[in-house]
């Protein structure tokens, strides 16, 4: 097993612990997006606790902010704060580790949580880089359910208008949202075509939970000049925990003790 995949499964174990302790969070989406976050933070992006205040660090926005749980374990692992404290206090009384990204947590760029905001903010960040001739890149992670928000399409237009090749969106396309499949609720089947028709460079990761495929996708994005790129990551909601995979009830389900033990066992088996 390669180092990134190993890390993504170790972080899955952290997520399961955090979710079980807090009886909160969005476990299904955490497990679909964790490989994307792992690859971005441990392979692609130039951001760490030492350069976070520098003007030229890569920017990251989790537009699908309800998966803050996954972001917090990644930031903790990256050294922005004590990861175990995040796991122990997530969603608890007076904790800064609330259910959405916020700037009280070291490593978070801007407060988010309402869907459909991240891409426009990312456009502003990428524009600022162009204005100042800075080389940092801006990465925005969106959910496929979130793509029903119309504000995304305003941002997609502007990103192309200003040829923001320093902006890379990722859609965590797991095909499920709180009420059911995206096909039942609002289809995400034509997302690649939508981005392409808005003039974006579209890169599909057939297995969006495969770190090697994601690494390749982000290399292609960085190499593309003159337009923004999107990685459409075809993921599995609940990936890595057998009974959660592709089950809408695990959008934000709470595990029984027995379920928790089974989830840990599933992950430990992969790590072994």
């Amino acid at each position: 097993m390669d180092a990134l995949t190993r890390k993504s499964y170790e972080l899955r174990r952290d997520i399961i612990e955090m979710i079980h302790k807090s009886e909160a969070g969005h476990v299904g989406g955490d497990l679909s997006v964790i490989d994307i976050l792992t690859v971005l933070y441990f392979d692609v992006m130039n951001v760490n606790p030492d350069n976070f205040k520098d003007e030229n660090h890569d920017r990251f926005l989790l537009s699908k902010g309800h998966c803050a749980d996954a972001l917090f374990v990644v930031l903790g692992e990256k050294g922005f704060f004590d990861k175990q404290r995040a796991i122990d206090t997530f969603s608890q009384y007076q904790s800064e580790f609330i259910g959405h990204p916020n700037t009280d947590v070291n490593g978070v760029e801007i407060n988010s949580g309402s869907l459909g905001h991240g891409l426009a903010v990312g456009v502003g960040m990428a524009l600022a880089a162009k204005m100042d001739d800075r080389t940092y890149r801006t990465y925005v992670v969106l959910g496929d359910g979130e793509m029903a928000e119309g504000s995304n399409y305003e941002a997609m237009m502007a990103a192309r208008q200003y040829r923001l090749d320093n902006l890379c969106a990722t859609v965590d396309l797991n095909g499920l949202q709180i009420s059911g499949t995206t096909d039942q609720v609002m289809s995400s089947a034509l997302l690649a075509e939508k981005f392409a028709s808005f003039g974006w460079n579209v890169i599909e990761a057939e297995d969006g939970n495969n770190c090697a495929q994601l690494v390749e996708a982000y290399k292609k994005a960085a190499a593309c000049k003159g337009k923004p790129s999107v990685v459409i990551a075809h993921t599995v909601k609940g990936k890595g925990v057998s009974f959660m995979e592709n089950e809408k009830k695990w959008h934000h389900g709470v595990m029984t003790q027995e379920e928790y033990e089974r989830a840990v066992k599933d992950i430990e088996e992969v790590l072994a």
Binding site: I110, N111, L119, V121, V123, G124, M131, G150, S151, Y162
Partner: protein, 308 residues
């Protein structure tokens, strides 16, 4: 009569300040002409961003620019800026504390006969309700310039409403200005008039007409709706019999409401709130509408005499 609008004053101020500040950025939503910001776009194309007719994008992009060190001024008609992009103002600007000044142009009933879609009679209320957002409605061009200069010195979010038409001069370039402190135009013994924005010149005329009738009126220019200068209000209201507020806004959540809140807890006093009614407004120019709804000098004088 002054012909320079407050939006022109904003542009002139930003043109001047941008000479030595590459981080000043203006963002418009097909609104550079109506915001009088076209000269800025022409002079500093590298510090100007056009987002098209997309107000949510206007505010979201502004927040992203600000999060990377830019001092952003985002201008769009107040009607759309204060409501179409309300959630971006709440989350990306106010909650996130980004250095964005939202400029609501052609505020209140500036657009006159264009009707209710284009009026912004709830922008004070909407923006004041956002934690972290400051709300200003400057009166004349000199106060507007002082306000922009003051806002450039800090990094907190703000919403400013300006009118479409030019406001009569009340001050000059040497006026006293302290951010978040009301300007005291006159002290009075009988009545305190409290006004903001385009209503201040009407209130000043009313004050003069009242003096001719033997009624001594004071006048506060409460351009700072949030944070609201309750200290100056209470100080000036203490010894009068009546307080009258005048605003180009609906009855809920604006100058009258803030005044009532401050007085009721700190200085209970007879209060008359003059504003636009909570109903579909008549058609007309803004001046015709002010007269119809009693917000002009004659209407203010009438209200004072009735109440006294």
């Amino acid at each position: 009569m002054n012909k320079i609008t407050n939006r022109q004053a904003i542009c002139e101020c930003l043109l001047e300040k941008a000479k030595n500040d590459r981080d000043i950025v203006v963002v418009c939503s097909d609104s550079r002409g109506s915001a009088s910001l076209a000269p800025f776009a022409e002079t500093y194309p590298g510090q100007f961003v056009e987002v098209g007719i997309a107000e949510q994008n206007l505010v979201g992009i502004s927040a992203g620019l600000a999060a990377c060190g830019k001092k952003v001024f985002a201008a769009s008609p107040a009607s759309f800026l204060a409501t179409r992009s309300y959630e971006q103002a709440k989350v990306d600007v106010a909650y996130s504390g980004t250095n964005v000044t939202l400029i609501g142009i052609s505020g209140g009933v500036s657009y006159g006969a264009l009707g209710m879609t284009h009026h912004s009679c709830q922008d004070f209320a909407a923006m004041s309700a956002l934690t972290g957002m400051r709300v200003y409605n400057p009166s004349d061009r000199f106060q507007t310039t002082k306000l922009i200069e003051a806002l450039l010195k800090d990094t907190e979010p703000s919403y400013i409403r300006v009118s479409r038409s030019a406001t009569e001069d009340l001050y000059d370039g040497n006026m006293d200005f302290t951010l978040n402190k009301a300007n005291v135009i006159a002290d009075g013994k009988d009545v305190l008039l409290v006004a903001c924005g385009e209503m201040v010149p009407y209130a000043k005329k009313a004050m003069e007409q009242l003096a001719a009738k033997g009624i001594s009126a004071g006048l506060l220019d409460m351009y700072c709706l949030k944070p609201f200068d309750a200290d100056t209000l209470v100080e000036k209201a203490r010894d009068v019999k009546l307080v009258v507020t005048v605003e180009e806004h609906a009855p809920q959540g604006g100058l009258g409401s803030a005044t009532a809140q401050a007085l009721s807890s700190r200085c209970p006093k007879r209060l008359v709130e003059k504003n636009l009614p909570d109903e579909h407004l008549i058609s007309g120019t803004n001046r015709e509408m002010f007269a119809y709804y009693g917000l002009d000098d004659a209407g203010i004088v009438k209200s004072v005499e009735e109440a006294l």
